[in-house]
């Protein structure tokens, strides 16, 4: 089985980088697993969907920002949760749901059987800065544990990541 962990974000935009940090921390813990690939991505829409094609299972980690954001809250979604945005426009024309739908109709065999999306709520990502705010970092550590356990239930948990 081919599995992908995809961290999305931008580490020079503060908390927007949370997905990237989680991906890096999980990679440190599970780097010996031959069936797991970990990638980082700083774009969305079409380019995002192109990255997940051909895998059996995909876990995406991203930041979440909306009116109901509560910094540090972890959420889990499936692609179906974004279907209400299916026909809604988004940056450069196609959001995740639209791009996924397009590929589903054009290349159905390459769509992963399972796609899970974990997010961490963030407040503000409009300033150039590095590092995560305290609540987002704590949530990112917790989410790292969750994902490690999901992928490798027998892994020794509770280790702190060595770098940020």
């Amino acid at each position: 089985m081919k599995r992908l962990l995809l961290g999305i974000g931008n580490t020079i935009m503060g908390d927007d980088g949370v997905g990237i940090y989680v991906a890096r921390w999980v990679k440190e813990r599970l780097q010996s697993r031959p069936d797991l690939q970990v990638k980082e991505l700083g774009v969305s829409g079409f380019k995002l969907v192109e990255e997940i094609l051909g895998y059996d299972e995909v876990i995406i980690v991203d930041s979440y920002g909306a009116e109901d954001s509560d910094a540090g809250r972890i959420r889990e979604f499936g692609p179906e949760d974004f279907e209400d945005t299916l026909h809604a426009p988004s940056p450069h024309g196609a959001n995740f749901a639209t791009a996924l739908e397009l590929y589903r109709s054009l290349q159905p065999d390459r769509i992963p059987k399972r796609i899970r999306i974990f997010t961490v709520d963030v407040h503000r990502t409009d300033a150039f800065e590095e590092g995560l705010s305290k609540p987002v970092r704590e949530a990112a550590l917790k989410l790292t544990e969750t994902i490690v356990r999901e992928i490798e239930p027998s892994d020794q948990c509770g280790q702190e990541p060595t770098r940020q």
Binding site: N10, M13, D62, F82, A88, P89, P91, N95
Partner: protein, 486 residues
Amino acid sequence: MKTVTIDPITRLEGHGKIEIFLNDEGNVENAYFQVPELRGFEKFCEGRPVEEMPDITSRICGVCPEAHHMAATKALDAVFHVDPPSAAKKLRELLYSAFYVADHTTHFYILASPDFIMGPNAPKAERNILGVINKVGLDVGSSVIKHRSDALDVVGMIGGRRIHPTCGVPGGVSKPITEEQRAKIEEIAKSEIEFAQLTLKLFDDVVLSNKEYVNLIKSDFYTTPTYYMGLVDDQDRVNFYDGKIKVVDPEGNEFARYSAAEYQQHLAEHVEPWTYLKYPYLKKVGWKGLVGGKDSGVYRATPLARLNVAEGMATPLAQAEYNRMYETLGGKPIHSTLATHWARLIELLYAAERMHELSRDPEITSQNVRTIPTAIPDEGVGIVEAPRGTLTHHYTTDGRGLVKSVNLIVGTTNNHAAISMSIKQAAQGLIKKGEVSDGLLNMVEMAFRAYDPCYGCATHTLPGQMPLEVSIYSNERVLLRKLRRP
């Protein structure tokens, strides 16, 4: 007076809103375009090694990282006073041409074509790429996906990564390409040329064969006479990667021609109290407000602007299309904002042809791809044509190469004033006596969509959708009505 706010704009990079002010009769009095600005970029860069700039700046935009990477790399050449070997310049241009193919393809099929293929008044649920594919067929859809992806593969081959290339270094590129890669690029480029021709045929069939659309393109409310700006080579032909910046006036006469380092002699930036946006304008003409014409320093830097300033295209098929566009629309310069879509497709064809030319260049697999810099770094400007307009990176450093100051004029910034003017003009033609429908608003949005504007797209937070909100205010700013699109 009523205010109509379209917030945020659909199919726009980043978040933005349009405010349309109606007078007591319900007709458009004024229109403004506003976007929030990402903060602290210059401070973030200060004190960092300037060699990091191609990587940092490519991450400020999720759409055109290649353009920032290239402008930054050229600025580094200038900062370190180093001239890259010819093969390195050709490799950069080859990468950049491939990026243009992917970017212009994305814009046409995903942003622009729904308005024309589905129609500006089609229901929102159909006016998108999925509706387009349903209408034109899965084969076209597969071809779009393939050619976009192949072009990004070329970016990856030369740039090291498909999305955020890393090859640009002061004095050249970090690695040469192999003969095997070259042959693959040549094969891809050949196919991209055919794809670009098919896309132009689709534009012909759908847009140019439809009298209603041609009238829309030529209509007064999509026409804004301004100055135009773009890079040209030494034969006055369009060039995305290098050359002199040329400016023509609204009558098409040459107004200025200058090299990257001289940009501050020609451009100034106007600031309005109600927005963070800066409005670049031609210094020697002056700022006269959000108005067009010869006495106003407002200029445009878009695909259409590039074609307006040039004497032609450097490749044969694109040149034939260039001639056809000006013959069809009544000569140079063309002021119709919607003709930008046509110009963009001519550039798509040029980019594909240029990819093909460069892939067959005997020098392209040369191992000599870098001149090692030896001079003390100080200051440099790098300019390329981003798909959305002339992109300028200007850095100063101390003698150790640590950044002291940064100034960027990004593609869309050039067009801030013109975008507001185009929106106002379209709104004036389309909104009468306070009547505001979804279709009308979309046609107003079409005015700025032609610019392929890109703002503050450095973050990627989910859910990633931008619902459209329309707020209508009374003259006392009391909210009268609020409409929200999903």
